[in-house]
Subunit: 436 residues, 2 copies
Amino acid sequence: MNIPRSSFPRVIIAGGGFAGISLAKKLSKQDIQVVLLDRHNYHTFQPLLYQVSTGGLEPDSIAYPIRKILSKYSNFFFRLTTLESVDTENNKVICDIGEIDYDYLVIATGSDTNFFGNEEIQKNSMSMKTIPESLNLRSLILENFEEALLADSMDDRDALMNFVIVGAGPTGVELAGALAEIKKGILPKDYPDLDTRRAQINLIQSSDRVLNAMSNEASEKAEEFLEDLGVNIWKNTRVTRYDGDLVTTNTDLSMRTATLIWAAGVKGATVKGIDGTDLVTKGNRIIVNEFSQVKGLINVFAIGDIASMESEDFPLGHPMMAQPAIQQGKHLGDNLIRLTEDLPMEPFHYRDKGAMATIGRNKAVVDLPRTKYQGVFAWFVWMFVHLYFLIGYRNRIVVFINWVYNYVRFDREARLIIRPYKKNREIRKASGNPFT
Amino acid sequence: MNIPRSSFPRVIIAGGGFAGISLAKKLSKQDIQVVLLDRHNYHTFQPLLYQVSTGGLEPDSIAYPIRKILSKYSNFFFRLTTLESVDTENNKVICDIGEIDYDYLVIATGSDTNFFGNEEIQKNSMSMKTIPESLNLRSLILENFEEALLADSMDDRDALMNFVIVGAGPTGVELAGALAEIKKGILPKDYPDLDTRRAQINLIQSSDRVLNAMSNEASEKAEEFLEDLGVNIWKNTRVTRYDGDLVTTNTDLSMRTATLIWAAGVKGATVKGIDGTDLVTKGNRIIVNEFSQVKGLINVFAIGDIASMESEDFPLGHPMMAQPAIQQGKHLGDNLIRLTEDLPMEPFHYRDKGAMATIGRNKAVVDLPRTKYQGVFAWFVWMFVHLYFLIGYRNRIVVFINWVYNYVRFDREARLIIRPYKKNREIRKASGNPFT
């Protein structure tokens, strides 16, 4: 991989998400050679992907070039590559661009969408874990309305204007809210020759409440907000089949839709070489100890979504979201520095900073360790926190401007079909190749 | 196409570029039914495409949803479609989504890249006429440097870091300048482990000066600016072959490059049905009279790049750029209104507002009818004019912020490979499908 060995120990970080980046930053200006690997040349701010999908933000403003983050530091190397497997016996990783050996390996490969083995749904549904996926969804949503104008039967038209979101976690709830606002504020103006009142947003949740990782107050208020916006909520319902047209559930609910968005679960993006059943949880997460060490390996670590650090407070590991990833990254950074100084590592303790979700303008829910609130203030807190954690001043300014503009104008001007999804899907099918 | 006939005459506008949009705006609030057809759901501000390719701007900020432009008006219909042919006998157009008849047809389909029949170059080179094309180019440029890191031989590495731009019109000059600034300001920071000083930007021009549609002063100054930035300029040189690796010219100049950008010419994007040799020029432009009427047809018009209105001052028709398109659109709008009021049409007269091009920070050249200037002031004029003609307040603000940021920070943060071009090219090859 053409990376020269220095006298410093080499740390390979696999993945430039929240965990990998916060670790990398910690290791700057240390006597450590850091090699960061990622399949994208940018860091993605995943919490705002749903706004890219719904035309509220440019993809470029929630992504940040990884090389720019690292360029400030010395002893940093980045390679744009896909990690194929890990050889812990010989301390090396195998990538599509070659092999490279390490002194310390940190797996921060994050999570993938979890279809729980349902290949039919995986094949026919949309997911939203990456920027290309969000842009595909944006294109599909807009293409559906263009197509609805041409539909011969009312039934086909309704199917094209029916959006089914599976999973009422933050992603599903935020997406449902955004779509409902588009239906209310934009569709009637954009499609005067289409009865967009017939557009439907259906949110299907297997458990008995939305946002079930949050407080009851948050769930109830979020549900109220969603209903105010006209979202149809189906609780205690599990989607069993989707053939690209008809959605079937375990209840008598079943409907036609051209767009099924799967936000029902995530699983760890495990790596070949560290995937033995003894090393990995049911959710595909790598089991680590309080030092983020992988079972039985002293120089291999896992942090972020991929890592399951089981503790009394978190018997199933920490929640798969930004905060644990950031905290684990920083903490492991300190520990690695301690290791190079022959000091003992310190165990990780998670500081729960709460959770939040936004449903629409002036509508958000926030759970903090000591307090909870919902509504306008929560919405401002949500915006402030997201701007704060966004990487890059330019991104913050551009996102802020877009938010102000969208708020004042009740608008989302990035409703652009830059790359037609349906056409590309044909290309993809024809070639049998995956699309990135 | 499900568009109801009203008591008003129907005008079909084929193309939502500068010409089509300025015509559409003129026809708002008239007793005229306007049907706008375009293959994209957005208007593209082509003069800034090169900044998208070079990571200076988000694509979303130079595009604007066509439906939003039209939503203010009544009697407007938009269809996302590709125009297949025109049947002037029966006054109807045939699209991939069906047929539609018209009372008046306005062809504003713009221009395509002109490879002058060289299929090898067309197959292996990049062009930059649409947003997807610009994004492909952006990805390719960045992918080349990532690949250069892995190259085994110096020779391969140099080929990956060598950029050849063919055609020194505004597009070629602006692109060359931007790439030179990236080489100077960004590559050394982003690729510390790559000798980016070896990166080359070659600008090849068949005539004896760059910007040969502009004044000699502009040409000379632009050339000076480009040389200051380290661009290699090859004049009186015509590229004859490019097999994807080796560029061959009609002189003894020949070099290896992974990226040949073809900005050497444009041709009218003619439409089947109006393509007889008597109707179309050598440059594939539709010959029109002083009322923008297509030869022998009273209710079919052509405006913008696609139209060649030959006059004493412009024996070969007006230059293929924004100004003639905008002016012809507005003028035809007035004429169509006059027609509906049974008034005679008025002949078009072009008001030459001059031309301009930017080479880099503080480096631009401006030719105005009465005066010419180059340098810092010209550069501010260039920016002001482009912000002014950009559609949409949000776009103007976001572009302005990006420019200020890039200027102050010597940076371009949109250097993101959102969709890997090389991988998609494989998919495309495998499927034989064109990529949009």
